[in-house]
Amino acid sequence: MNARGLLTLLVLGGLLWMSVAYLEFDTDGLFTLATLASFGRYVAQFFPPDTSGPFLIKLWSGTLETLAISALATLLAAIAGLLIAVPAAGRFGLAPRLAARFVLNALRSVPELVFAALMVIAAGLGPFPGTLALALHTTGVLGRLFAEALENTPREPAEALLHAGSPRIAAFCYGTLPNVLPQCVAYALYRWEINIRMAAVLGFVGAGGLGQMLHVSLSLFQQQQACAVILAMLAIVMLVDEASALLRRRLA
């Protein structure tokens, strides 16, 4: 434990102390027996989860909705991201590069939830604004990843085709795209996995899927239904985790 480590610990400890103080934690109120008891009662209301037939059907369609939102959003984002990535990689000059990079940074800095709230204003409630919101944010993320992949890819194949008289777009598709496409697909799949989790929660602001179901059931104090929705979310996340681990082992 050297001096640097000790200093780090002291600084971190100090920051932590300040944070706790700032939040004015009502620790006395939080951990009294009465509070814990009421918390326990609240949790108990969640069990057993609602597994009635009609609700299970709603749950199933909510799951499909969540999966559809995430898949469509990722697909749209991949296409849009690739289109914006070409100028962002500098293929059209400096000014377009800066503009494209700015757009991508703006898109990926705004959290999906904020986009969802914005989209709900623009398009009402339902899965459509959720899809748009996820697509917008993911375009920023994928666009940046694609642009980096494009920058790191050799230019010679496309240039050789240009020197043989090929038009620019064809040279790109025949010379550059085959090199970056596998990487782009990998990024998109990885992002889809994350988006499934995100799509499940976007519903909180009314953007469809399991999240909206959860919000509704909590608002209506139907804790048992809420519990079923949470379990469904957990199941999806675990399934996607396993599936992607399997896929990665197969492809590696």
């Binding site: 939040l23 469509l72 939830l113």
Partner: protein, 280 residues
């Protein structure tokens, strides 16, 4: 002049044609129901009512709200967000650390020979792993929502939600770090007769510490972002302010808060990079 003596080849069809066609048809078959389920309809964006509201909201973005009272409020919310992230990560670490010790294979005595307490260890390891998966699997926003219902609006809900989800993530990654970098020193020490904790502190920790710190700092950066998002459902900080402003359709305030958020994220990025370099 013919160099090869092979017989002329029969005309062969493109071997990739059928799989490609099948894949395309499959994708199209999946696309149609997806479009229907998500009620994909770009025309909705241009419906008069919606377009007006959106346009009005966006027009208010410029200029962003700069009243001193509001800026003070935003400043306080930003500090609150940072505080939520700090305390949340600290609690997450307290949850993750013991769980990682419990579940990591690096400290497995059974790997080097029969251990007396192997039944007890296994009885602890699997539930430990299941707990980590459960903590990680439920999105932090769901935890935040639940805690808001349970303990009320405000930063407490955010801190608890962060502590739980990030505890799960940190626990899993710590366990993997032990296994990938420090299994050998730990086993060597245990073979020489050291107990598990001793093996950990003398064998594992020195090797694993840099990676652990690096990942924890990265998670802190994510926590700052997550705190804002959780605030959106009432867990305090900048996010809660943003939700209020958007609910009031106050575009100017929303714009200020969004800009603050962007600055905050950039700051966290810079601090995290600096910190990691300072430690290296």
């Amino acid at each position: 002049m013919q160099l090869s003596a092979a017989a002329p080849l029969p005309a062969r069809r493109d071997p990739a044609a059928l799989p490609r066609l099948a894949l395309t048809l499959l994708a199209l078959a999946a696309l149609w129901p997806a479009l229907r389920i998500t009620e994909f309809n770009p025309a909705v964006l241009f419906e008069p009512g919606n377009a007006d509201t959106m346009a009005r909201f966006l027009r208010q973005f410029v200029p962003p709200a700069t009243a001193p009272d509001f800026l003070r409020l935003v400043g306080r919310s930003t500090l609150e967000t940072l505080a939520i992230a700090n305390v949340g990560i600290a609690l997450a670490f307290l949850i993750a650390f013991p769980l990682s010790l419990l579940t990591s294979n690096a400290l497995s005595k059974s790997a080097i020979g029969p251990a007396r307490d192997w039944r007890a260890r296994r009885a602890l390891r699997y539930p430990g792993r299941a707990l980590l998966i459960f903590l990680r699997g439920i999105p932090e926003l769901v935890w935040a929502l639940l805690f808001v219902r349970a303990v009320g609006l405000g930063p407490t809900a955010g801190v608890l939600a962060l502590a739980i989800t990030y505890g799960g993530m940190l626990g899993k990654v710590y366990a993997e770090i032990y296994e990938s970098s420090a299994t050998q020193p730990a086993r060597a020490l245990m073979q020489a007769g050291a107990g598990r904790l001793q093996a950990f502190f003398y064998g594992v920790l020195p090797v694993a510490l840099p990676e652990m710190v690096s990942y924890t700092v990265y998670r802190w950066e994510c926590a700052v972002r997550a705190s804002v998002i959780m605030g959106f459902v009432g867990a305090g900080g900048l996010g809660q302010q943003l939700e209020l402003s958007m609910r009031m359709l106050n575009g100017a305030e929303a714009c200020t808060i969004l800009l603050t958020f962007l600055l905050l994220v950039l700051l966290a990025d810079a601090v995290s990079a600096l910190f990691r370099r300072w430690l290296a």
